[in-house]
Amino acid sequence: MAAQRMARGLGGDVALSHTSRLDDLINLARESSLYFLLFGLACCGIEIMQLGGPRADVMRFGAIPRASPRQADLIIIAGTLTYKMAERVKLLYEQMPEPKYVISMGSCSNCGGLFQNAYSVCKGVDKVIPVDVYVPGCPPRPEAVIEGLLRLQEIIRGERWATRRRPAAASR
């Protein structure tokens, strides 16, 4: 590939030349401004709170909490998803504009976690909406969520929007 890249620092750098792909530019913009929907379901919601706090400070990665799904690129499902809440989560997800991403945070939203025998708990958020990154833990530390966010940025970096939609979107 003729596209020249400089070493990626925080936020990433793309050397613009006449052979640069527009994809790289778009991806750079998308990965470094992942606004996420402020949405704590259960215990993990408290770690989401600490995520925005001074120590973890997720905003340095360009991820800023938004209160409305219509302004969000990313939804972090943080906590136990009950059946009553599941339809609301689907509604919120559908209200988000494309392109949209999902991070499933914690055992409960990954697979039901501790509440395997509970009659009211949906065993995994991927039964309702497609998930891009799973973060394990009960609850995961804020650092683990940041790791999940960086993985998501990697996924976004590899996307080729000009030619086709990303594979995860195609299989939906």
Partner: protein, 375 residues
């Protein structure tokens, strides 16, 4: 929703929640408003019903302890302790005194952490993000202490049946004391920065007043009850564990900036309680006795048939466990009485006539969290 007789053409029905930053978790309020003035706000609960009580019936007694963490994740120590005390009563186990002291230390630190979140989110909900960041920063220090003590930041699983899981790590005592020295100064700073900030006071003083008798009628507990001027604290009035060995005062709402029982009183009682908790932890760290940290309890707990009831003063008020045993190795029934559920009941009664923005202050001042309501 049923048709109400007092609904007029100008009445608007708005859903507030379940996804809303100010609802403290997933709670839905059906808000009937006439312009900015509320006619009624009806809470709708159940969005976080994880059937914790039912889960208890399928697993062993000791295995239920991690589930109690999730009943109140901001103050998990108390939920652990209440269940442990209930089982100790049922089994007739005597808890070693070092374990009692460790329980007090961990619980009071947890109370500070929980109240920091309450005060911080209160500040955030009425419009100052700074207070929230300050609260979260201090809470992170407590999280570190807790992590060193029991390996978890949030869901501790520390109080076990018959004692506690781990002893104090080396050097923990000094770290805790260092934190408390810093924290006492922080409280003064927080008062200057947030609590007595004129804008903050104006948002809370004289808003959503709950008189003492009403608070008792609706079964409010803990700081919400004391904020209404009712002097009742389980730690002092019905001491459990090691609380009778410590000296502390119980802060009561006095109308610090307005009326007794307004949102500011409920908020400020929590701030004062943090200082008292810090006092208790200091005393406990000084007088902690040597010895065992856990009584001998069989791995497979199998109590005789019977029932038991325990109460602890949690950060959100009295938390009660009612456990029924049928002699097998799983509980027949576990019932958990929590403060937040009662607090939700009063919102519909207090809300008429409030402004929409005051509803947010009311919810924040009651310090409800969703899993305690729904369990």
């Amino acid at each position: 929703m049923d048709e109400r007789a007092d609904r007029t053409e100008s009445t608007m029905l708005v859903n507030f929640g379940p996804q809303h930053p100010a609802t403290h978790g997933v709670i839905n309020f059906l808000v009937e408003t006439d312009g900015e003035v509320l006619k009624r706000a009806t809470p709708e609960v159940g969005y976080l019903h994880r059937s914790i009580e039912k889960s208890a019936e399928g697993i062993g007694y000791a295995a239920f302890v991690p589930f109690t963490d999730r009943v109140d994740y901001l103050a998990a120590m108390f939920a652990n302790e209440g269940y442990a005390i209930a089982l100790e009563k049922l089994l007739g186990v005597e808890v070693p005194s070092r374990a009692q002291w460790l329980r007090v230390i961990s619980c009071e630190l947890n109370r500070i952490a929980s109240h920091l979140v309450a005060a911080g989110t209160m500040a955030m909900d009425v419009g100052t993000f700074t207070g929230f960041l300050h609260g979260v920063r201090e809470r992170e220090a407590i999280n570190d202490l807790m992590e060193e003590l029991c390996g978890a930041r949030l869901t501790y699983n520390y109080h076990r049946i018959g004692g506690v899981a781990f002893d104090l790590p080396t050097g923990w005592r000094d770290k805790a004391l260092r934190f408390l020295d810093h924290f006492d100064k922080f409280l003064v700073e927080f008062d200057r920065l947030i609590s007595f900030n004129q804008i903050f006071v104006k948002r809370l003083a004289n808003v959503a007043v709950i008189p003492g008798p009403t608070a008792i009628d609706y079964g409010l507990v803990g700081p919400n009850l004391r904020g209404s001027g009712v002097d009742w604290d389980l730690r002092r009035d019905m001491p459990y564990g090691a609380y009778s060995h410590f000296e502390f005062s119980v802060p009561v709402g006095k109308g610090f900036c307005g009326t007794v029982g307004d949102s500011f009183d409920r908020y400020y009682v929590r701030c004062l309680e943090m200082a008292e908790s810090s006092r208790i932890v200091r005393q406990a760290l000084e007088t902690i006795p040597e010895g065992e940290i856990r009584a001998r309890v069989p791995r497979n707990v199998r109590p005789d048939a019977g029932e038991t009831f325990s109460r602890v003063e949690s950060a959100r008020g009295e938390m009660a466990y009612y456990v029924v045993s049928d002699g097998s190795n799983t509980p027949w029934r576990v019932r958990i009485r929590t403060g937040s559920f009662a607090a939700m009941g009063i919102i519909e009664a207090v809300s008429p006539g409030l402004m929409v923005a005051d509803l947010v202050a009311l919810i924040a001042s009651l310090d409800v969290i969703a899993p305690e309501i729904d369990r």
